[in-house]
Each structure stands twice: as structure tokens, then as C-alpha cells.
Symmetry: C2
Subunit: 327 residues, 2 copies
């Protein structure tokens, strides 16, 4: 495809985007009408929205449009999974500059579509308008399959804290990229394209998870939301947390304790949940801490003590992505 | 409330926004967790997304934050109604500059909340991030109440075309505003805050509507979507279309045929539908045309002939809102 978004025009672009989509049995009516219709078999629908901005959440010189699409979809689909639901559909609200090559939104859509397929969902609708800054807003829908939603507020003292998926990989990849490097590839790839363990959300609900969330802002920050909502303290046990050798190597190279990436790095969208202490967890879950009674300590502690280093981020803070460097 | 969005911070702003929301019985889980849970009584959910950008779809000197919220919500809720569904919930994805007064997003949320209440829905979730341009993306959800969705593709030759709601009021109001005037108020208000007839969508479904849409881009443009999807031609009868006297007065004052506003003005979100010819329509519906077999003529004609004047708009064209004028 040649030309810019402006040359293709709104309707041309929408035609191009929708022509690339796939469908699923849950899609009763896809794009092209005033609204889509999606199956909600258990008479409830789970819904979540997130926004990604160029310069703030992604950079075009670090991530392809395809990867941004995968990442934007993953972020939302992981929120659905973290309620214990199976993702069914997403809607895309896209702002693109007129001078952007038309291939960019098209490849973005390919990425969103493919990530949806990994999660079992489909793109059912959206809106595209012209604007200065590329803005990707995705709303994901899901089905609870007759489970109750697993909220953040159900953790009980005595529960174990368990996690599945990747921790700190995206943050390590960002550290690599922001120093002008392109390798180790595995971490750079993890930053560009997270792999949330979607299946683990509904599985955790079946296993009796008492609370659950996905790790989008960092393990300590996101467990802080569970601790606050559940009025408990959560203590993490570093002896139970694996730091991959390669991550330690990167940490040494760039002068960062890799445990900081594991405990405070976001965007990998691991699934973390609390379970009654007698739970039998499948092999890919790892128990990394316990729920205790609230105390004068912070809501999340590490080996019984406050974690003193930086953690999480405030989207209104000054922690934008670093400025571009020359290759 | 004092200070800017940046001073309030992401979590402070989200707390402020969510504290103002109301709920309905359909909301099973509101904002604050990874995702919301909304009732979908008939095992399907209707979903639609739209984006509004500052400078492109609204101007802060012409519309209050509250009005932008009303309008953004109305636009999405009307899409749900136009499928024949009852709106249940909306999610908000908001981009705001750090230097924006914090009152702005708060009043925006008040507007969204109040428009949702008019339609019987509630705000159930969202995301807020910092960015250069105010961007309001709303996803609306709805319930079909066991009706089949009324699509654009079901119009049959012989059907009547009927409309309910306002036509051309927003366009006339925009014409007034863009010439530096603030009155007549009714039209300026209509531009700032449309009043879609939400109830008419599900009512039309019950009355056996064969196709339906809301008028967001202009009557001819939106009926064009129905004509194209249904493979028919639609002929409008100007003798059946009322042009309010005050609108004619404005037209004379600014040198525009007011019929152009009625036929091509968008954003009032009237509901237009086709019905079998023997339908008995309630008083607030007005028959304005008929569905005929496709021909060499355009898909929508006016009194049997092409409408030669400008119509609709392409979001990638150069038809931004006019530049600000001094008061």
C-alpha cells in the first residue's frame, strides 16, 4: 500500500482496516454498522479500556506498528483475563496524523487482530480520526463463563500470593533500548510485545483465586492495589523469586539491581493472584509471598520490610519514554 | 477544586472522577478493578466506540467541559439506540494535558454521567493519561432486550423512511458560532449538546423497523450508508421535511439554504429508520421519504434528483472547526 493516511481518506482507511479482520463465533455482528453485537453467554459482560500514546507509551523507532498493536491489545485483554474472564472482543479508537504512512495503521490493526486471536477474541468495531498524536484506545470485552469475577478486594490473611507469566522483562528491555542497544533480543522483544498468560486468568478463577490482577504498573504497585482493596498487607519473599541469569547480566552492565525490574517493572502483564493456602497450583504458577494482617508497615513489603527503591509510575509524572537517540 | 491535572496527579484525578459517578442495577462491578462487569440480560452486548478531539470536534471556547461530556456520551449512546438497543454502560478513555485545569475533566465527567442518566446508562470504567491534545474516546454498551439488532442492510423497496429527533440544528448552531455570534441560543445549544431520542431506537425495533441509523454525519450521508448496505435507493421528499422558521431566518442571515443544514448537517443524532409501508408510527416520527429500487441515480436522491450541494464530511479532509475568533 502506498501513500499517507490523508491520501487514503477516512473511509478508504476504514475499509482497509476492516478487510483484514477475522471473526469468531462470539461475533454476532462485526464492524460496519452503528455498533457491533457480541455474545455474552452468561448474561454479563466484562469491559475494560486503555489508552496508548506515541512518545509516552511507545516510540515508532523502537516498536513497529505491528508490535504496538500487539501490545495495545495485550494490555486490555490481560485486564479481562485478570477478572477471570475469557476475552471475546475489542473495539479500537484510533487517532492518526494525516501525513502518517497508511501502512502504519494497517500494520497496527494486523497486530491487534493477531493478539486478539492468541486470546480467542476478535476486533468488532472502532473509530478512526485525524489528529496530531497517534493515540490507540482499546476497549476489550470478555465472558466470565459463570464464574464470579475475581476482584482485587478478596485477599485474606493466610492466602498465598502466586504469579504466572513474565516479570521485569519489559523493564529490562526498556533499559537496554534507552541506552541505545538492541540486544539481548529476548528482553527487547518482551518490551515490544508482552505475552500475557491469558488462559491463567480463567484458570485461576476455577482454582478459587480470592483476588487477582495483571502486572501492568509493577508487581509491588499492582499488589498494592490488591492490598488496599482487601485491607491486608502482602509480603513478598525474594528467595522465591527467580531472577534470570541474563537479566542479572543486563543489570550488571547498566548498573541496576535486576530485582528492581522484577518487583517494579510493568507492562509484562503477568497474572498475580491470591489463593487459599491449601490450593494445588499448576506448575507454571509460582508462590512468591503471602497475605498477612495489615500493620504499620507499607501495604506491600519485601521480606518483611519496606521496599525502598523506586516503584511503579504516575502517568502524570515526568517519566516519559527517554528521548530518541541516533542509531 | 484548584490546580491542574498535573498537580492533582493520575490517581488523584481518577479518584475525583470516579467519586462523581452514579450507578444502575445493570452495573455489577463499577470502576476501580481491572475491568467492569455489566449485565447483558439477553446474552448479547451491543458495543460502539467514538473519538472526539479538541480543535477537531469541539472547542473549549465554544463548549464547556460539561457540554463536551454530554455530546461525547450522546454520540455513542445514540449508536447503541440506533441498533434498537437500550444503553447500559460507557467506558471513557481520556487524554488530558498536564497543564489543563483539573476542573475540566471533572466537569467533562459530570456531563458524561448526566447524559448516561438520560439514556439509562452509567459510566463503569476508563483510563486517563497525559498527552498534548484533549482526546475523549467513549465506548458505549447496550442491551437488545431480545430484539434482533436493526442493521443498515434491511431496507426494502416500498418501505417508508421516517425520522425522529432534530435535523440541522447543530449545523445551524455551528454556522452561528463560526460567524462569531452566540445566538439564537436554541441552535447554539443544539450544537453544544445534542438531544438524541434514545427511546426511539428500541421503540423502532418493536415497530418492525427494517433498517436504522442515527444521523451523525448528515441525513443524506447516513441514509447513504443504509442505501449502500441494503442495495436500494432512498428518495427524500422535501415537501415532508419541516424547516423551522427560525432556522430559515438564520439561513437568510448567513446566506445558506437551511435545507442544506437539514439534509447534510450532522451531530444532532436524530434516529432515522425504514419501516414496512403499513407501519403505524407514533406522532413524533415523521415520514420523509421512501425506499425504491436502485437505479443509475445516486443512492440517496432528493425529490427524485441528485442533491448537488455539499454533504457529510470526511474526517481526513480539511474541514476542521474554524479557527478561534476573539470574543
Amino acid at each position: 500500500m502506498k501513500g499517507t493516511v490523508g491520501e487514503l481518506g477516512e473511509f478508504g482507511l476504514i475499509r482497509e482496516l476492516t478487510s483484514r479482520l477475522t471473526t469468531t463465533p462470539a461475533v454476532r455482528l462485526g464492524p460496519g454498522d452503528d455498533a457491533a453485537v457480541v455474545a455474552a453467554p452468561d448474561r454479563r459482560v466484562v469491559a475494560s479500556t486503555d489508552v496508548l500514546l506515541e512518545g509516552r507509551h511507545f516510540r515508532r523507532d523502537w516498536s513497529t506498528a505491528y508490535d504496538v498493536g500487539r501490545k495495545a491489545a495485550a494490555q486490555n485483554l490481560a485486564d479481562i483475563a485478570a477478572m477471570g474472564a475469557v476475552p471475546t472482543a475489542v473495539l479500537l479508537a484510533l487517532v492518526v496524523p494525516a501525513e502518517l504512512p497508511a501502512t502504519w495503521p494497517v500494520e497496527l490493526m494486523d497486530g491487534i487482530r493477531d493478539e486478539c486471536q492468541v486470546a480467542g477474541a476478535a476486533v468488532v468495531g472502532g473509530d478512526v480520526v485525524r489528529g496530531e498524536t497517534i493515540t490507540v484506545s482499546i476497549t476489550a470485552l470478555g465472558d466470565l463463563r459463570n464464574h464470579e469475577p475475581v476482584m482485587r478486594s478478596g485477599a485474606q490473611p493466610g492466602d498465598v500470593v502466586a504469579v504466572t507469566g513474565w516479570l521485569g522483562w519489559s523493564a529490562a528491555g526498556l533499559a537496554v533500548l534507552s541506552r541505545g542497544f538492541r540486544s539481548p533480543r529476548a528482553f527487547v522483544e518482551a518490551h515490544r510485545r508482552p505475552e500475557p498468560p491469558y488462559h491463567a486468568g480463567p484458570a485461576a478463577a476455577s482454582l478459587g483465586a480470592t483476588s487477582m490482577t495483571d502486572v501492568s504498573d509493577g508487581l509491588i504497585a499492582d499488589l498494592g492495589h490488591i492490598a488496599e482493596a482487601s485491607k491486608v498487607r502482602i509480603d513478598l519473599h525474594t528467595a522465591a523469586i527467580d531472577v534470570p541469569t541474563q537479566m542479572s547480566d543486563i543489570g550488571q552492565a547498566v548498573g541496576v539491581d535486576p530485582l528492581q525490574w522484577v518487583l517494579t517493572g510493568g507492562e509484562d502483564h503477568a497474572i498475580v493472584a491470591t489463593f487459599p493456602p491449601d490450593v494445588k497450583l499448576p506448575a507454571r504458577w509460582k508462590v512468591i509471598g503471602e497475605v498477612v494482617n495489615p500493620s504499620a508497615l507499607p501495604q506491600v513489603t519485601v521480606d518483611g520490610a519496606p521496599w525502598e527503591r523506586a516503584g511503579g509510575w504516575d502517568h502524570f509524572g515526568d517519566e516519559d519514554l527517554p528521548e530518541a537517540e541516533d542509531d
